[in-house]
Symmetry: D2
Amino acid sequence: MDPLERLSSLFERFPGIGPRQANRFVQFLLRSSPSVRRELIDAIAAVGSGVHQCPQCMRFHAGAAKICGICDNPRRDVRTLAVVATDTDLAALERSGTFRGSYFVIGGTVSLASEKGDNLRTLQLLDSLAARSDAGLEEIILAFPANPEGDATCIFVREHLSPIAEVLNLTITSLGRGLSTGSELEYADPETLKSAFESRR
Amino acid sequence: MDPLERLSSLFERFPGIGPRQANRFVQFLLRSSPSVRRELIDAIAAVGSGVHQCPQCMRFHAGAAKICGICDNPRRDVRTLAVVATDTDLAALERSGTFRGSYFVIGGTVSLASEKGDNLRTLQLLDSLAARSDAGLEEIILAFPANPEGDATCIFVREHLSPIAEVLNLTITSLGRGLSTGSELEYADPETLKSAFESRR
Amino acid sequence: MDPLERLSSLFERFPGIGPRQANRFVQFLLRSSPSVRRELIDAIAAVGSGVHQCPQCMRFHAGAAKICGICDNPRRDVRTLAVVATDTDLAALERSGTFRGSYFVIGGTVSLASEKGDNLRTLQLLDSLAARSDAGLEEIILAFPANPEGDATCIFVREHLSPIAEVLNLTITSLGRGLSTGSELEYADPETLKSAFESRR
Amino acid sequence: MDPLERLSSLFERFPGIGPRQANRFVQFLLRSSPSVRRELIDAIAAVGSGVHQCPQCMRFHAGAAKICGICDNPRRDVRTLAVVATDTDLAALERSGTFRGSYFVIGGTVSLASEKGDNLRTLQLLDSLAARSDAGLEEIILAFPANPEGDATCIFVREHLSPIAEVLNLTITSLGRGLSTGSELEYADPETLKSAFESRR
């Protein structure tokens, strides 16, 4: 295949990229200097070789140690564990600076089509709970998006964790619902209004 | 002025209506039958003559009695009072079916430009609290939109109500924040994430 | 029915207005002074009584004379007649100041569902052509929108006018296609690019 | 710098890509198999080594010969030359199948800030005209976008080509303006309506 079309078709696989923008990326790289292309090639290679998954939280990181900087930080609160869907959600929580506990990236959400969670690292999470409990864990916070996939994942994970959580005396909670910043009552759905009333204070 | 332009310029004052849509409304009325225009004229006149404000919750209604159907309903919970900005917000809460107490429409939000709440019926609300307390009121829920105007209104109203609320032993609460239905963690602001963690359960 | 709901349901019939905006209009009129509602009622009534259709171009106008100001203007070019779908399209052409001939509002476009043009004033247009030809008409310009409905209307009207136009020696033209201001080649459809090449100069 | 952040910051330089999508690309590549990353690296390298500019039309291509497949095609019409801003615009015209002549990619548009066209290959185009004229060229079609940059480029290129075009007896034309497919009269700007009337037929 033509190298231009080949590169374009690879960019088309990128999330959210259609043929037009893929082609624009190719044109951008054509007009860029060889050193820019070199840099990009190196950076993609580095992500392949220098990045690895933290064996505790399962997020990708480029630290020298196997364990990532968050899991290795002695100042983080060992009593709370936030279970998140993706590295991106973990990063969003870190940026917000609201959570000081540790994380576990479960690797996605339950697919509504299959209603299965085979793709999730539920077993790996389960296996780690005894050790985490010994280390001081008290509460598992299910921090999934407030959409149907997130809700299904919440139910799925809670079901799988409940028996062991009970044995280890761990509480399982989920993020609270309510009015998001910017929400107007007029456009809020009944579920959100209900939660907003229930979590009033 | 030309009657078509006069009507168009009146429609332009309607909320959210620009010159193009105003003109489209005029064309729509031109093409409508005389009976449709007659109906519209009658309905506007009826709103002027047949609609009045409920002296208790201050919302507009067309009931035969002065007091509106919600305030007059003996089955509503007298222990909670939701203070809302507008009739529209009151209607949104009623539609959601989540709240069974009574309402007070304060008549808008604090303007961020002036930082004043002179336009609000704060005094009227204050004056009603002793009687409401005698009737069983325990909690005032400030149900304002989750935006800067709503937040400023919350602070403003709370400040004005606090002294009397303390005397009468009334709790003042506000609607809870958190993830709205549909929110993704990646796009949630820090404030929303913080509330979502705090109101977890 | 409740006067507020009745007015709201009338506003819902306005083009492009859903239940939420209809309700907002009602709230706006409730908060307006009686004089604003009075003015609106008068303006709607005036549109019913003071506005009439020009017997030549068929547009609605509020002039004292039966014939409208454009048709009555001796400085307009009698050689060209633009046939437009609606009063709104006529107004758009007038605003642009590009056309100095006379107009005929045919009253809509061919419906793609029925493929019929019964709603159009084709016969009325046909009947006027002999007199217009005597007065100097040379060219009929079909000025319909560049969309499937407009195209179908163009074909429909052209078919109905052709026999008489030939007899009277009138040319029938349609507006040119090409790149609209703001169009980029990358996003233009093949039809538009083809026209742009054909009408190059 | 962290390899993940380095790659993300390189993706942020891509046209139309912000930090969030750049991060999503990185996550996508992390989750992809090593072979996908390998393919991408190879394709970027191939674009650097296997792609070259056609010395006649200046577009990038990956053909074995120096001259590209369009310039080398004996069936293309030698009488018309379309001058386009970018490879992407050339591709759009080819896709539309409306033009059978040859192309010249001038390499961008006049910047409205500087009002200069130093970045354009105007001299190169000029230098080629005598030979093209000998080969049968009759008309140069300026095929720039219908926006202010495109208009400025049209004026700029026309000015530079005019003296030689006159000597060689070449016509210079530009793409026609008019209603694009989908345009409604109500939303068309006066310039577009004017062109639509002028190019009627």
